[in-house]
Symmetry: C2
Subunit: 203 residues, 2 copies
């Protein structure tokens, strides 16, 4: 055990995901050595996240304002909504630079064993967004980009059931298959099976 | 890029050792989801380390008081001083529960290429501690526990030269050899060589 304040900081740091006692100790000793203004900056960043970050009223993404940057950007295509589980999924898709539509963050995936049903996700808000579009701005495509695991697939199936009767709306799902740069012989059976059943016609 | 406060926090976290952008992002999103009192506790722990942690006037270890817990503990054997590079080395030796003496933290190891000479380390303070002991409390052993690498070995050699003329003082060095639980065939040549040259007589 270290002396009071140091051990307290190690304990608080060790609660963060991906940091064990060793990693927490390493950061604590780093912070003991830096100038106090460096700690000030970290404290200020934590306080701003605590005080200023809210959720976008439209898409549910984390945001510094009532509407997030994407929802308040008129250049983004409002006819396409990409549905994801978590705010970090928005970031992952933005990094591809392949999508210019808007997002809808569910806040998780269906997982009845953990008590997460449709009412715990922002599904009602999605249905409302689809119903209340002004003329000419109708949503024509919902891309279901939940994770390719049991919970994400269940969520996708549920969403398809809810959305399939909206007139003029196509519901799509991200392709499953071999990861780019991967090696066919190391792919698991499930992924390889998906890649086969989803094979594209080249010629 | 995330919105302002989130990206700022990720940037600050990513400056910590052992945390890359991915790890920093993971912690930032964890902190977005926790209650604000959890962030308060982390902020308070950081502020206490910034404001309350000082260095022990005697041994140079990090401490919440002018004298650290070990130097102010009369039950610790003041005739033995274990010299280490960093405060975390004190913790490592304390964990063994094999040492009941006191410590001296150098604050690093000799490394001329990085501009760290004897004057940058707390060597003068160590010599003063050895010279100014009250009667009956003379230091009889200095255990040099610097790291078993180039800088640590150079520091140990330097300390031996400075200390060898103190009357009635023995200077010792931590044993080098095979790590316990290790595998002989996987030991590097240097370690195995040290283990051979430092072999003990069993019978």
């Amino acid at each position: 055990m270290y002396e009071g304040p140091i051990q307290d900081l190690i304990d608080e740091l060790a609660k963060q995901p991906g940091l064990g006692p060793k990693g927490a100790q390493r950061i604590a000793f780093h912070l003991l050595a830096v100038e106090s203004k460096d700690i000030d900056r970290l404290i200020a960043a934590l306080a701003r996240v605590r005080d200023d970050v809210t959720y976008c009223a439209e898409c549910g993404n984390v945001s510094a304002n009532a509407l997030c940057r994407i929802c308040s950007d008129a250049r983004r295509d409002a006819t396409k909504i990409c549905v994801v589980e978590e705010p970090k999924d928005v970031h992952a898709i933005e990094r591809t630079k392949e999508f210019n539509g808007r997002y809808h963050v569910l806040g998780g995936a269906l997982d009845p064993l953990s008590g997460i049903g449709p009412d715990q996700l922002r599904i009602r808000e999605l249905l409302k967004r689809l119903a209340t579009q002004e003329d000419g701005n109708d949503v024509t495509e919902v891309i279901v980009a939940t994770d390719p695991n049991t919970e994400g697939e269940a969520t996708a199936t549920y969403l398809l059931r809810m959305l399939k009767d909206f007139p003029g709306l196509s519901v799509t799902r991200l392709a499953s298959g071999l990861p780019m740069g991967g090696d066919l012989e190391f792919a698991d059976e499930l992924t390889l099976g998906r890649a086969l059943s989803g094979r594209r016609i080249l010629a």
